[in-house]
Symmetry: C2
Subunit: 245 residues, 2 copies
């Protein structure tokens, strides 16, 4: 499994992904699941992937090859005139890769599946965020549903639902996401640190603050330890149940 | 789906179950998923069920019939000499019901599956808590894993992991469980109010405080509304992320 979150804020887009991949509990590895394509001043596209690693790596490699030599192969992500069309290209590539693998006669083609989060901005349009399904269709985030999760989404969802605020600063968004990732990490072995992040500032058309949070990162440790205490205090602050009604 | 939690505390056992059943999103109903067998001064057994409703109702009816006329049918839950043997009887009954349905030639026998939480105390032994699998085997809660969840367990797990304390009062356990149920409710339509609860006090050998919490219950509403604010305050109390490292 995997855990990735893409979030729309008033000031930009926030991406965070874990790095755990597994083929059984006895076979875990670390892989980057976040890819960034950039043409400074023109476009910035971030992709995160959950699902079959062979599928998602093939999708990224194909998109990458086509971007680097746009003369050879069309269409290219770096030539897409809008985020909508970029999402369409990525979705088509995903469907193509899954179909290629499924054609070998393998029955359980669901094991080749992957789900993607694509976000970014192309000059002339606003920042947009998409969730792309293995079937090759996709949906877009809006003010009603301003964030997407893929992979092991359930543990970390309640805190996002409760604390998300479109006006939040990037620093607070990072804090919120690290709490959401920490809750997931604590409950599920298929999600693992380090966590990659990228924060895209609206209309900057370039890579924003990005990096990797290790398990031993002092800030992450303070969040992880502090959150347990803060939750207990939050519980304490609520009125006690009374059996007298 | 369903959400049930059974929890071992120093002072006794706590049970809470939702009441939502569904056969598709367009066909939801309310059913009690908690059953209590009592012989005051002698034994108290509580069962909660998640999974196929026909299966879990059949299990309860069979156990019930056998308990009421122990002369006719053996073995009876009311005659079990220990909680371990009671768990074995329930597990055998569950396996029997699933096997009966599967024998009809129906392929997808997993759809008949159910998972149970059984807890209680029989004179001569301590309170014990079991998780019973559809295969008819079971595990017991201990100090390392002092609570079991069945059904839609993921959303409500982080708060339990963080805030559970074996020394907590029943009133605080109720508050904790209602927060866990509220988090699940907010994220998943297959879990629904009202919630049934039962608190068994160690060595009382009788039904303890029990009841049903409706969605409109003023206390539940105060918890549900207060929890969002309390979470935000908890987040605020943590140090902010800094991009300067």
């Amino acid at each position: 499994m995997t855990y990735c979150v893409g979030m729309m804020l008033d000031r930009g887009l926030v991406f965070m992904s874990d790095t755990r991949t597994n083929a059984g509990l006895d076979n875990i590895s670390t892989f980057r699941k976040m890819t960034i394509w950039e043409e400074p001043g023109e476009r910035l596209i971030t992709l995160m992937a959950a699902g079959n690693l062979a599928t998602t790596q093939a999708v990224v490699s194909l998109l990458d090859e086509r971007s680097k030599s746009p003369a050879d192969r069309q269409p290219s992500l770096m030539a897409a005139p809008s985020m909508f069309q970029a999402a369409g290209m990525v979705a088509d590539t995903l469907r193509e890769v899954i179909a290629n693998h499924a054609e070998t006669g393998q029955r359980a083609d669901s094991t080749f599946n992957a789900t993607l989060i694509l976000g970014g901005q192309i000059k002339g349009g606003p920042p947009r965020l998409f969730l792309i399904y293995p079937e090759g269709n996709f949906i877009e985030a809006g003010t009603d549903t301003p964030f997407f999760q893929i992979g092991e989404t359930k543990y970390g969802r309640p805190i996002l639902v409760r604390a998300y605020d479109p006006e939040m600063r990037f620093e607070d968004a990072m804090k919120l996401l690290l709490v959401s990732f920490d809750s997931t990490l604590k409950a599920n072995l298929t999600v693992g640190a380090p966590f990659d992040f990228h924060l895209y500032e609206t209309d900057s058309f370039k890579t924003g603050p990005r990096g990797r949070i290790e398990l031993e990162d002092p800030y992450f440790r303070s969040i992880s330890q502090g959150w347990g205490d803060a939750l207990k205090e939050a519980l304490d602050s609520l009125p006690a149940f009374s059996f007298d009604g």
